[in-house]
Symmetry: C2
Subunit: 544 residues, 2 copies
């Protein structure tokens, strides 16, 4: 190879990809655009930039050096957004603590990430006070408060606003290696301890640069452009709120941070602030659409990105009937997260709304810069014919390089040089990915695979079913057989025969095989959920 | 510093930024979108990808290895677009030969770039035959033809289409260092030989990723999104046609390549193919708007990016009156090129069209990821108050790292760690850059600076003036004095007194100083132009 690689000398003016560069454009294009925090705070991009510099000084004064780790426990707020920038911009690592984990898991993750300083909102102060004695590396705490900071026995550096007010607005953010780690957070797997993923400045910049055209330029109706108004409905601690706060800030978008998610409040903020773009998992969207305030609100034209799980037909139908412009995206903690997004071309948009939902809830097309394929258990590529299924594996410039301090699990994640998602999918000739199931959730019966998601979708069409989860249970003859855990409509009688009869029509139509119909159902009042609101099949399997 | 830099082991799954990755999304999102070549060829994105693989095989079979250089001499064509990808994707360097240079300059640049293989269109075959004896490194030629390849004494590998037809559609494009050089071309300065600039895979990918939101997401009316139809009116050999072919291909945009620029043909293609986005220097736009076909065509809604020079008020007024949505961008050969672009917010768009032109022809706001400032001669930052002027210096992830094999000029370009553009500008508090002049064109008179551009704009408002260029001429008393070279309207009498009287109104209004009014004019039939259509002040200075 005699490829002309730029020698270090010739590449002397190399410009590293740093998170501080994402801040350049928003304030230049739209200095007066607002960052709103519920009913509590409202300021513009110039102020955002000033506060980020102040926070950098506060962190530095608190003894945080490059390579240190700063943990945040907060609802979605302007302060959290400031930490998204200031912490990595001084060379430190931002640890997004998942506040929905158990106290034991929080202790594990904060010790594992070696947190040095903790920014903690009043609402999580009792939790932190409870676990503080077990935190081995934490040197201090900064209190985030919306009223008056409560007294605490913790070693407090100060209250966030008071510290910022006293800090200089001048901070010369340094250049450093773009591969420096910027953020970390933990993903709860099927078994064992949470696993830490981590992302570098380079990775977050590239994720932002590729997500912007994916949201703004690919589809005939853009989801997010500079003139939009953004409000997350995926928590900021959850995979960087899917990376959107970075995109919104680069584009100079007006941003609305709602604090703790209360459905009525979210709808009120949507109306009051003129929100045009949000994103959330189906369970959150369901809560929002079902709340009192949503009944009378005009939701037409709200651009909504859903992900984390496929929305049910019922939820999709409701979004369509309310005029919400929703599409599905796909990704995971390990992937920063964005991998695919649904794209509706002009032709698809000509169809009546109810005929579009099928396309809108697919897993979507890989976004720019993402290489993605499906492979069989031996790692061989599977045909993109819309029929054959395989595990999704991917390569992209923003995937976690492994699990923090877990070399074996990291090797497994990256087997064969591709990141293994654990999701089983088909890809059709138009490159549209359709997830069928998690590899661990697929039911293997009599040498065939049954998709639990497909079965759940069909069962949920029964009018007496509120929610349903299907899991595989061991079976001597068939290896595994499906079992459906169902939340019935309150006061309605529901039994196995009704469900079997309901499913028979889909067998007759050839949609599912006869052997996919379950012989067992369990009726419950609520399904167990994980900390991010997903149905927890791991728990269900232990219950049945 | 204990910044957690990802160690090579932990960064084992690093994903290099390579031009091949820009090809992933367009074909997935819009496989049927067309690439059109004038009246000669029309195919879709799947075919584009297939032909790029075929071309890679042709180049490899012709003995081209990574690090070799492949030169192209062609009008704007689908074949040139294929070379934009295939040449760098096999690890070779694409040399965009400026076909408007003199034969001596072409010999110089092709020898300096050490070209190995030359792709040459029939129209440039006589030129190449004339210079071939002086080309020291060229090993072979591939003929690009729209009819039947003419016989030639050159050492021909074959005719492009015949070679492609015989080649395999399978090519496994390798991964390599993202800092490998992908493209090179030459910029003609004020004096001396042309200087070679060069760009790596990483730089072109980042330029593309940042240009996509600049064109699609920042403004309230996007210039270029997936559903648009693109036709360049800046030649493909000129700074990657401003980088747009890479953006368009990533987004899956329908692309129309017009061959040689003939104004009537351009307008016909605009109409026939439904073009919605083009870009060009003012002199080309002037020719297009003035042609026969444009008189009857509906140009409303044509998105037009102008650059290379500020459009005159007359051209701006004409574009506004025709309903063309034009904005100005700024950049140069050394900057890949994009640095700034005009952004009209919703407020500005509410104004009547004629009141918008002033904003539309400014230099614009730095696009995402671009750091840019103005400095005085000592390199100190100058205030962004819209009044003070200084030289524009910049940092961004896509700037040439120097001039090829010119260490001294490279050091001068990057003095103080910022790329020096040689342009003098003011920046207003809203971050809008307004170029006043080239440093070398500014007229220094009596200790003050006169902007030749400003003076040209005012003189061009005289109804008898078709075109005007102002240069500084040596003056014993004042150092320099302005001289205006004017092309008068045919058959109209024009003299110095008329021009002075015309300018006096602007002196009275306080727009220019009294000492900016020239004492000398020269009437000519045409102004000398450079190879890319810019007014050549270097030549003018030698004439007066």
């Amino acid at each position: 190879m005699k490829t002309r690689i730029l020698e270090p000398a010739a590449n002397a003016h190399h410009s590293p990809l740093l998170i501080k560069n994402l801040l350049l454009s928003g304030q230049r294009y739209y200095p007066e655009r607002e960052i709103v925090y519920s009913d509590i705070s409202r300021y513009n991009y110039l102020c955002l930039n000033e506060r980020i510099a102040r926070l950098a000084n506060v962190l530095t004064d608190a003894g945080i050096s490059p390579g240190d780790t700063v943990a945040v426990l907060d609802w979605d707020s302007h302060r959290y957004l400031e930490a998204y920038f200031a912490v990595p911009m001084i060379g430190a690592v931002l640890h997004h603590v998942n506040v929905r984990l158990s106290p034991e898991q929080i202790i594990y993750t904060m010790n594992h990430a070696e947190d040095d300083l903790v920014l903690v909102h009043d609402d999580f102060l009792p939790l932190i006070e409870q676990v503080a004695g077990s935190l081995q590396t934490v040197r201090g705490y900064i209190q985030l408060t919306d009223a008056e900071a409560p007294a605490t026995g913790l070693k407090v550096v100060g209250e966030y606003e008071a510290l910022l007010a006293a800090a200089s607005t001048d901070y010369q953010f340094p250049d450093f290696d773009e591969n420096s780690i910027a953020t970390t957070f933990y993903t709860t797997g099927t078994t064992g301890n949470p696993k830490g993923v981590y992302f570098s400045h380079r990775q977050l910049v590239l994720h932002t640069l590729a997500m912007a055209p994916a949201l703004g330029s690919m589809d005939s109706v853009p989801m997010l452009r500079s003139d939009d108004v953004y409000m997350p409905m995926t928590p900021m601690f959850h995979v960087h709120a899917w990376g959107v706060p970075y995109v919104a800030t680069m584009l100079g978008v007006k941003q609305v941070y709602p604090g703790r998610y209360e459905p009525n409040k979210l709808v009120q903020l949507y109306q009051r602030e003129g929100v045009t773009f949000s994103h959330g998992v189906p369970t959150v969207l369901q809560m929002v659409l079902g709340c009192e305030a949503a009944k009378t609100a005009d939701l037409k034209g709200w651009n909504m990105l859903t992900g984390g799980a496929a929305p049910t037909q019922a939820l999709s139908d409701e979004m369509a009937s309310r005029g919400i412009n929703f599409v599905t995206a796909y990704g995971m903690s390990e992937t920063c997260p964005l991998l695919t997004m649904v794209n509706l071309d002009e032709e698809a948009r000509q169809l009546p709304a109810e005929q579009q939902t099928g396309a809108r809830i697919k897993t979507g097309i890989p976004v720019p810069m993402v290489d993605l394929r499906i492979v069989d258990l031996a790692g061989n590529p599977v045909a993109h014919d819309g029929e054959a299924v395989g595990e999704i594996v991917t390569r992209a410039p923003w995937l976690t390089q492994g699990y923090f301090k877990e070399p074996e699990k990291s090797e497994e994640l990256w087997a064969g040089g591709w990141l293994h998602t654990g999701d089983v999918a088909s890809i059709d000739p138009n490159h549209v990915v359709q997830i069928k199931d998690r590899i661990k959730d697929v039911i293997k019966t009599g040498g065939e695979w049954i998709s639990t998601i497909e079965l759940e979708n069909l069962i949920s069409k029964h009018e007496a079913v509120v929610e349903v989860a299907v899991v595989g249970i061991p079976d001597e003859r068939w290896d595994e057989r499906p079992l459906a855990m169902i939340v019935p409509v309150e006061g309605v009688e529901l039994d196995l025969a009704q469900i079997q009869q309901h499913l028979q029509q889909f067998v007759d139509q050839g949609e599912i095989a006869k052997w996919a119909v379950p012989e067992r159902i369990v009726l419950v009042e609520a399904l167990p959920k994980t900390s991010v609101g997903k149905i927890d099949k791991k728990v269900i399997r232990t219950l049945v």
